[in-house]
Structure formats: structure tokens, C-alpha cells
Amino acid sequence: MSGQEKSWKELMFAAVSPKPSTDFLTGDWKTFTPVYDKEKCVGCLQCAMLCPEGAIIWNAAAGKVEFNFNYCKGCGICANECRVKVISMSMPDKEE
């Protein structure tokens, strides 16, 4: 250490986390997967606003919401809060 020690002026101001957390996929945490009827979705965006993960994306061109299963933790808030009740939580088959 001695001789090569940096002076305090050369050090970084604070500890820095170098990577965005979007590199860390949390999608494999889930037990249940949201499944929804795209035709019946009215695009009220209640699910997208209340999702804790930001895993529901508004596709303005299609006028529908889309799920990002890379981050969805399968909590089921979207299914519970959907105003037209078109989202349901399902357990995927193990064989698939």
C-alpha cells in the first residue's frame, strides 16, 4: 500500500454502483404469471401505474399494455386492480 496510496484528491467522491439494476433480471422469482386478454384490455393503465416493478409497458402504437416478463415478480397486483378484470394469474405447466 505505501508509496502507491492515492491522495484524497484523486479518490472518487463516494462509493459508486457502476451498473444499472436493469441488468439484474428478477423475472425468475415468480410463481404465478399474469395472463391477459389483449382484446378486452381498455388501456386504462391502472396496472401499469400500480406495478411495483415497472414491468408493464404502455405500447402507445397498439393502444395496449405489454408485460415485461424479465422483471415481473408475479405479485398479482395487476390482476387484482384491473378494472375490466382481464388479467388472471396462472401457474405455467412444469412440462413446458
Partner: protein
């Protein structure tokens, strides 16, 4: 407050689609539990920012899950600090920004400073720093996300834990039915500092929440926002019902939504309904049901306590209505 200016009357207007298209400055991939209420709160807050913003955050669940090395969930300058001094830290940032603006080192007209803390970092540990910063009148927004306990360290009681709730340090049993003390009236204490903007919000009413965040940022001088954020792990509820409890807390008048602008207190729309038609308010048992921390209250021997809690809630609500009439 001599430095503050009244809030402009034209409110920030936006639709759900505008809000959904705003960039997410609190990234996905954070490691909060499934169904985390505070995570939704942070996403909504970050969507409501109006430009260059610096966030400083006290230790707590949301600090831990968003900054596990080498990952960070923050798309803006973010500074972690200890439990005690988040408000002091925000004061320092605000003062530094002001000094650098004076010397021409920063060109931006305004840089918003947000201090974030949980109920432990606000009600209990960080309280003196908050009080000091409010008294000095720094231009920052203090946001408290209240999940009613020290959830990060294993669900201990805090000053925000409501009466009757079972936590690991106030376990319900034969000796006592959960926490015996009342919840600290923090917003009233903050209001007593005579600051310009104090409001309460909850994530189910996300539009209301976002408008309140924007108002708090726009005002010059300190602003305080108390956000009620259900915690499925600590409250022992189903993750899917997080937002349902957020709604029920307002519907049962346990957590009424109001704001104080320029010293005048007014109920916000979701709570105003219960002022105009009180018969629509739900009994508190609707809110307690399904929450594991209140499960013991439904035992026959605790019936009396349940009645007392309903009475206390009604009393609080009536008091609030009076405060809204006469500021």
C-alpha cells in the same frame, strides 16, 4: 416563512398515458419483495419529477433493495446516508447547489432536492434532523414512505406502528394484544413548524400522489409528503392485495388524504367523498381483515379493543374535519 411564494393555482395536468410514457427513473430489477408498496411509491415519485433532481435517501428497505452493489436502480444523482441525517444531508445539498449557482458553476435555474426516508428514518431516528431542516427553511421536499414498522430489519415496532398491530417486538399473545401505544401524529408535528406545504398520499390514488409530489417540488421552501405504503411482508397480507389495502386505508378513514397549502387544510378528492356522504365510509374491520398483524383482534376477547379502535378512528376523522373548516 418569508422566502416562500404561494403555489400557483394552475395544477400540473396530465393523463394516465402521459404518465405511463414518462421515463422510469426508478429502474426495474430492484430487489424489493413481490407486491412491494413502497416500490410503486418510488416509481410514481420519480415519474413526477420536473427536471434536474438530486435524491438523498436514508437507510431503509428501499435504499437496500435499490442499491445492492454493483447495481443501482436510480436514473438520477442519488446519495445514500445514515438513518439519522437524511434531512441534514438534503440541507447540505440544497446549500451547495445555491452556492454553486451564485458562483455560476451551475447553469440550471432550479435543481430539486428530494429526501426520502421510511417511517423509522422519519418518526424515530431521523426526527431531529428533519425538525432542524424544516426550521432552517431549506428548499427541499421530504418524502416519508410509511409502512408502519422497521420492515427491513425484521418487522419491529416503530413510532408509526398503529395500536393493536402485532410486530416481532410487540407480539400479540396472552400478555398484550399487539402494540399498546398510539401512532405518533407526525404530520401534525411537521405542520406545527409552520411550513408551506404538507400533504398525505397513498399509491392507489396515484394521480393525486404525483400531483402532490410536483406541488411539493414547485414550492420554494421545505415541503413534507407523508405517503402510506402497505408492506405485504410486514403486514402479513397477500402480495396481490397491496393496493387494495392502500385504497381501504382511505375508505375506512384510517389514513385520510389531505393537503395544507399556505396554511389552509383541505381534504383531497378521495377523502372528500366521505365528508360529503359519511355513510359511504367503511368500518375499520374491512381494513383489518386479511392482515396477519391484526388477526388477533378478531378473537372474542379482543372485541372491546376493536370497538375502541373504531371509536378512536371516528374521533380522529371528526377532528380532521374540524381542522379543515377552521385552519
Amino acid at each position: 416563512m418569508t422566502t416562500s411564494t404561494p403555489i400557483s393555482q394552475d395544477e400540473w395536468k396530465f393523463t394516465a398515458k402521459d404518465a405511463a410514457l414518462r421515463p422510469d427513473l426508478f429502474f426495474s430489477g430492484h430487489r424489493a419483495c413481490a407486491g412491494c408498496g413502497p416500490a410503486t411509491v418510488l416509481r410514481l415519485i420519480m415519474k413526477a419529477t420536473r427536471g434536474p433532481t438530486i435524491v438523498t435517501q436514508a437507510t431503509g428497505c428501499m435504499e437496500i433493495v435499490s442499491s445492492i452493489y454493483p447495481y443501482t436502480s436510480w436514473g438520477l444523482p442519488w446519495l445514500h446516508t445514515a438513518f439519522e441525517n437524511v434531512a441534514a444531508n438534503a440541507s447540505g445539498i440544497e446549500a451547495a447547489v445555491k452556492a454553486m449557482q451564485k458562483r455560476g458553476k451551475i447553469k440550471q435555474e432550479h435543481i430539486d432536492v428530494i429526501a426520502l426516508a421510511g417511517d423509522g428514518g422519519t418518526y424515530d431516528i431521523g426526527f431531529q434532523a428533519l425538525s432542524g431542516a424544516l426550521e432552517r427553511g431549506h428548499d427541499f421536499l421530504f418524502i416519508l414512505y410509511d409502512n408502519e414498522g422497521y420492515m427491513n430489519t425484521g418487522i419491529q415496532r416503530s413510532g408509526a406502528t398503529p395500536t393493536g398491530a402485532s410486530t416481532t417486538t410487540t407480539p400479540a399473545g396472552t400478555v398484550q394484544p399487539g402494540k399498546l401505544e398510539k401512532k405518533k401524529p407526525l404530520t401534525d408535528i411537521v405542520l406545527a413548524h409552520d411550513i408551506e406545504y404538507v400533504a398525505t398520499a397513498t399509491p392507489y390514488y396515484w394521480k393525486d400522489l404525483m400531483i402532490k409530489v410536483r406541488k411539493g417540488l414547485e414550492i420554494k421552501g421545505p415541503a413534507f409528503l407523508h405517503i402510506f405504503a402497505p408492506c405485504p411482508r410486514g403486514w402479513r397480507t397477500e402480495p396481490a392485495k397491496t393496493m387494495e389495502y392502500s385504497k381501504l386505508s382511505v375508505d375506512t378513514c384510517i389514513f385520510p388524504l389531505w393537503e395544507v397549502v399556505n396554511g389552509k387544510r383541505a381534504l383531497s378528492t378521495p377523502s372528500k367523498i366521505f365528508q360529503l356522504s359519511p355513510q359511504k365510509a367503511k368500518p375499520i374491520t374491512d381494513y383489518f381483515e386479511g392482515q396477519g398483524r391484526f388477526r388477533h383482534l378478531f378473537k372474542p376477547e379482543n372485541k372491546q379493543l376493536l370497538d375502541q379502535l373504531q371509536e378512536a378512528t371516528n374521533k380522529q376523522w371528526q377532528k380532521l374535519l374540524k381542522q379543515c373548516e377552521t385552519p
